[in-house]
């Protein structure tokens, strides 16, 4: 799709883009459907149980049934809620999550928008979702939701800093924030992928990313054992579904981002394996990361809010800065290829 980027807009281009967008939407919806299924199955296996196996063959339609149920449920708005904001919040959470997908390059030529500040675009837009969560928590007029929203704001703002800082090393090495160029830079053997030279950055990125996703062990905004369900406690029906959808789309986006930034994107681990299409490699790496996220969820307990903040500012941020420093030193000594 890149080739259309510089041409003047015509009806044909617009139609193509629309079709592409619908295709991505479809892919993402399918992904979310089966990510939820996969998550439940994986965690089920890890916990000696079967997971969903009733609806459809092997329970494959379980999520479909769940979504159908959510759509048919009564849509309740608390009497004392701020109605306009209450309705706005899920939309505001959901829209940016889709917008960030525009910059993800799945293959050398499979990308919607090739922005030269791709990564910053992602960070900037995903920040809007934070506002939506605070909004949802506040407008619900529920104390649990408010606490969840406040936690969420504090957490996501704190973790965006190390998240961005951890990627600075890559930007320095690649001399670009363009996601496509970052992938192209990692061509060759798997040890050319960024996760090895940027091992510290990778670790910080993974931790900060999990936190950005509000997933265990950082799922404080919706810690069900303390805050019942956090910011979306008052939401029901399809508004709740929007929040869920947002959450899983960000799982998708973060997994893509980690693949691109640190795992060489569509590159094969060895040049000899090039005959397998790049998209397959991309999907494999992506699946590994998603699996890792689910695995973490089945294993770890939850942090406390003060520990969470301490981790962000006292551990991750210094580590990220150290990583920047080391990268700079590496570039100075061995040139860009080393690190």
């Amino acid at each position: 799709m890149q080739k259309f980027w510089n041409d003047p807009v015509t009806w044909g281009h617009a139609g193509l883009y629309l079709l592409g967008a619908i295709a991505v939407l479809a892919v993402v919806i399918v992904f979310v459907t089966y990510a939820i299924y996969f998550e439940r199955k994986v965690i089920g296996w890890m916990q000696y149980r079967r997971g969903p196996n009733r609806t459809g063959p092997l329970g494959l339609l379980q999520t479909v049934a769940d979504v159908a149920k959510l759509l048919m449920k009564e849509d309740t708005i608390p009497a004392k809620a701020d109605k306009a904001l209450f309705i706005l919040a899920p939309v505001l959470a959901f829209v940016p999550s889709f917008l960030v997908l525009a910059i993800i390059p799945y293959g050398l030529n499979l990308q919607f928008a090739d922005l030269n500040v791709g990564f910053l675009y992602y960070v900037a837009l995903s920040g809007i979702t934070t506002i939506a969560i605070v909004l949802g928590g506040w407008s619900s007029n529920n104390k649990y939701a408010l606490l969840g929203g406040m936690r969420s704001a504090a957490q996501m703002i704190s973790y965006e800093v190390p998240l961005v800082m951890s990627v600075v090393g890559i930007a320095m090495m690649t001399e670009s924030l363009n996601l496509r160029e970052i992938v192209i830079y990692q061509e060759g053997w798997f040890w050319h992928w960024n996760f090895l030279p940027q091992i510290v950055g990778f670790a910080v990125f993974v931790v900060a990313a999990i936190s950005e996703l509000n997933r265990t062990p950082f799922d404080l905004p919706e810690a069900e054992s303390e805050l019942v369900a956090g910011y979306h406690v008052e939401y029901s029906g399809f508004r709740f579904a929007f929040f869920m959808l947002t959450e899983y789309i960000y799982v998708y986006a973060i997994a893509c981002l980690a693949t691109i930034l640190f795992l060489g994107g569509w590159n094969a681990p060895a040049p000899q394996l090039d005959f397998i299409p790049g998209l397959v490699w991309f999907a494999l790496k992506f699946a590994c990361i998603v699996f890792f996220l689910f695995w973490i969820r089945a294993t770890l307990p939850r942090l406390r809010i003060d520990q969470l903040m301490g981790l962000a500012w006292k551990v991750l941020l210094p580590l990220a800065i150290l990583n920047i420093f080391l990268t700079a030193v590496g570039i100075e000594w061995w040139g860009k290829g080393g690190g």
Partner: protein, 366 residues
């Protein structure tokens, strides 16, 4: 300085981490608790009042429903009190069966605690691990008395059912398996950094405070007070078996965690010995008058339930029904320290501390 408003938060009675219908009204300054007021009674069924119109055999099922996670020990405290009052002899085989089910129950109860506690702290899997292993104990109980939760197993003078064919061997097998499972539990959770950071140094109190507040069970022992009724005031056959009483040092949630984990091991140790010595054949019911009518007088009997000292105070006027029946419920007494522990803690620690005390609401409200 920004002036912040105090937030009054109503935790419960339908909160997932209050382990039932317990309710605490907390005043929050940000996320820090400045005051906590427990409210209970949502599960009050008036067991003590009901008991005044029932004969002793009829009361036994009601005790099941007090601490429904540990029904066997509740059964025992009642029948033991009546037997003591009437001076009844219990056949050895029955007493062995009682001891075995009580220790199995202790393991099962601690497993429920372990699972739900870690669930409170945010770990999902231990809950299911613990419940799938507890399931085996429930299965064993089911074979014994046909119920999985409210057993109604013991009777004044013995037990209702003898162990079915092969039951003892199955318990032996379970004890063997459970030992390795406990190691697995430790691998999974006990050394986890996040868990340690969440429970170490949280909810700390010293031995004197624990005694003042009448805490019992692991809550008392975590402060270093070596007080276990099975050792200090032996009942049943406990004096015949070798076991240690684990104690903590710091009196925080982590020590309570360790004490309970060790108690499971010690229970398995008792079970091993008891199963070895289990008598071949013999009666399971002693000689009991057809109508159980304790003589005029009163008695206070206490045993070590998984949650602490469960006591039964009976005033009898020589009738088949107790004149007054009062249970000392460990959860109820242990819970008293909660408001004191919560002040100055965060909302998150509320869940940690409450879970660490290990209450069962059926028993708090009775």
């Amino acid at each position: 300085m920004i002036r912040t408003e105090e937030l009054l938060l109503n935790v419960g009675p339908q909160h997932p981490s209050t382990h039932g219908v317990f309710r605490i009204i907390v005043k929050l300054d940000g996320e820090i608790i400045t005051e906590a007021t427990p409210v209970m009674g949502y599960l009050h069924r008036g067991t003590e009042k009901l008991a005044e119109n029932l004969n002793f055999t009829q009361i036994i099922p009601y005790t099941d429903r007090m601490d429904y996670v540990s029904a066997m020990t509740n059964n025992y405290v009642l029948v033991h009190a009546v037997e003591k009052m009437m001076g009844l002899e219990v056949p050895e085989r029955a007493e062995f069966l009682r001891l075995i089910v009580m220790e199995l129950q202790r393991v099962a109860s601690h497993m429920v605690w372990w699972g739900t506690y870690l669930l409170d702290i945010g770990a999902l899997s231990p809950f299911l691990y613990a419940f799938s292993d507890r399931e085996r104990i429930l299965q064993l109980f089911n074979e014994l008395c046909g119920a999985r939760l409210t057993y109604n197993y013991m009777r004044v003078g013995g037990v209702k059912w003898d162990a079915p064919e092969g039951w003892i061997d199955r318990v032996k097998q379970f004890v063997r398996d459970m030992k390795t499972k406990l190691l697995e539990y430790d691998d999974l959770a006990s050394g986890n950094e996040i868990l340690l950071s969440r429970i170490k140094g949280v909810g700390t109190y010293d031995a004197q405070t624990a005694i003042d507040y009448g805490l019992s069970g692991a809550n008392l022992r975590s402060t270093g007070v070596k007080w276990d009724l099975r050792k200090n005031e032996p009942y049943s056959l406990y004096s015949r078996f070798e076991f240690d009483v684990p104690v903590g040092k710091n009196g925080d949630c982590y020590d309570r965690y360790l004490v309970r984990m060790e108690e499971m091991r010690q229970s398995l140790r008792i079970l091993e010995q008891a199963l070895e010595q289990f008598p071949e054949g013999g009666e399971t019911m002693g000689k009991v008058p057809r109508v159980i009518r304790p003589p005029v007088g009163e008695i206070y009997v206490r045993i070590e339930s998984p949650r602490g000292e469960i006591g039964c105070y009976i005033v009898s006027k020589g009738k088949a029904e107790p004149f007054r029946l009062k249970f000392r419920r460990p959860s109820f007494v242990n819970l008293q320290i909660l408001p004191k522990l919560l002040v100055g803690e965060s909302m998150t620690n509320l869940v940690t501390i409450l879970g660490g005390i290990d209450i069962v609401l059926g028993e708090v409200d009775c």
